[in-house]
Symmetry: C2
Subunit: 327 residues, 2 copies
């Protein structure tokens, strides 16, 4: 692992390496969400991306580099989307893959991983438990680990989602004041900070109120583990920010918004019914933060809708009230 800092140049390079290999996901506008936000929202629909999330960007680059270096196989731990992305990327290179997920990961995400032929190991609920198993597997198989937060290709690759959003808005004649990105382990926010360099743009992070790992890291001056409380935003459950993402983002980030569970659920519902996009709760966390932040702070706000891998049953329950009636 190189130790020099990443920069905008690395995101630009990542964009060139990825050219033509992914869907160019649209930036969606919606009058009704704009009315709710009191500002123009520009929704980067990475829920429509290959593998159902923006994580495939970094995974493709990282796995490609390992494959070129003669890797025998890859291991990744993740709450789900990074694992799906690594499994898809490794399948392209016919590399054996083992991924480590929380034992209560969404069945939809587990199924997508197994469809690629990768092995999925389910263990515990915390980051530390998964990391311990990754170490064990690495020693057993001599495979390479694709870390979701510390890998430079991963962070630069994730930054291309924000870079693409910024250029798509410019191509449509707009100019973003701010971009709102969900915070799990930190690769999206770090990538967004890199991508925003040279643009006059506030980078805003969104994390569940129940897992305020970035807020805690800012208070402590560095990554700390926060108590693991439940959130429907399964993708934002990492209870500690990666040190590389924190280092890359803590000076640039304009603010971190902690989002209550009810606001995450409501944002998911309005994205579906007004913007007609199915997003997962992690993406809804960013949308909820954007709805909260936009009014008064900005006229044009980009939102990274990070993914769309969600359980059908959760969607159904958000569309019906407690008595089973549609709402």
């Amino acid at each position: 692992m190189e130790t020099t800092a990443l920069s905008r140049v690395d995101v630009d390079r990542a964009e060139r390496r990825l050219a033509g290999r992914l869907w160019k996901t649209p930036v969606v506008r919606c009058d009704q969400l704009d009315a709710l936000a009191g500002a123009r929202l520009w929704l980067k629909a990475e829920n429509l991306q290959r593998g159902g999330s923006f994580k495939v960007r970094g995974a493709l680059l990282a796995v490609e580099r390992l494959a070129a270096a003669g890797s025998r196989g890859v291991i990744a731990q993740s709450t789900g989307n990074h694992a799906i992305a690594v499994a898809l990327a490794a399948a392209e290179h016919k590399l054996p893959t083992v991924v480590v997920l929380p034992s209560d990961a969404p069945p939809t995400k587990i199924r997508r991983i197994r469809e690629t032929g990768a092995e999925a190991v389910l263990v515990g609920t915390t980051l530390a438990e998964r990391v311990a198993v990754v170490e064990e597997l690495r020693e057993r198989y001599a495979y390479d680990v694709v870390d979701p937060y510390q890998n430079r290709d991963v962070v630069a690759g994730q930054g291309t989602a924000t870079a693409e959003l910024i250029s798509q808005v410019a191509a449509a004649g707009g100019r973003l004041d701010a971009v709102v990105v969900p915070i799990g382990g930190g690769s999206a926010i770090a990538g967004a900070c890199l991508a925003s360099c040279g643009h006059d743009l506030a980078v805003v992070g969104a994390e569940p109120e129940t897992v305020p790992a970035f807020t805690a890291a800012l208070d402590a001056g560095g990554p700390v583990t926060v108590p693991a409380r439940p959130t429907i935003a399964d993708g934002l459950r990492p209870d500690r920010i990666g040190s590389l993402p924190f280092e890359l983002s803590h000076r640039t980030i304009a603010s971190v918004i902690t989002v209550p569970e009810t606001a995450i659920a409501e944002a998911l519902r309005v994205a579906l019914l007004h913007a007609r996009l199915l997003i997962e709760p992690a993406a809804a966390t960013a949308l909820a933060a954007a709805l909260d932040y936009a009014s008064g702070h900005a006229t044009d706000v980009g939102v990274l809708l990070s993914g769309g891998n969600i359980e059908p049953g959760l969607v159904a329950s958000l569309l019906t009230d407690h008595s089973g009636r549609a709402r």
Copy 2:
């Protein structure tokens, strides 16, 4: 009303008139739907359009022409989306609007109309019942009628959705063999036939098995009224094809696929869970037909996902089985 035939030139002119006034909706790709289809599907996501459907294209042009001619107000009959579109367009010109819908039109569609300030009259379930009320209202108010099938601006405007799809696919390096379009009163299929002129492209229509109005018109050599049987595709309930759309499309159309209700529901579900797009049953009828048609007939199939105005309760019910469990 002019009586000369419409042509590709009218669609090109409509595109220029609409430039910059609507969302440029994306063409969405999805590996999982491609696998189901056995071909590449290019999904024109007009469910993300202003007003939630492609109908705003024709309505904007028609209402603008009436406003310029000094109209006192407008009247439209519709199963829902044309009425929403006319109401939105008329609101831009501050023209009073009355729309006539079936008495069992989806509440979501009725609400959207009333949000624009338009008056919604609910009557009967058949086209003939609505047309009779439109005549009555026209005499009472001296407003202008924006017919959803016979108006030339409407048909040319609806054609811009297919024209845009064809150019977006070309810009992405693809080439369509076929385009699949839902058939209600016929404006979408007529517009698609106009837009496809000069392209080597099969235009395929999709209608519910329970309302085979185009199939019946082809058999009879002209529009006939078919018995009104129920369909979840509320937008495709017109029981008779408009004469202008039939005239413009019956020679060009390559085939008409009649889609069973179960296939419409299943297509809606896979669009949501795989492509992460919320579409209404009319759009799902086109997707179902495309899934049926693609394999064996074509390698690249465009699908007009016509709209996304759907009841939350219907979505919830499609995501759960009879026992209320997620499926």
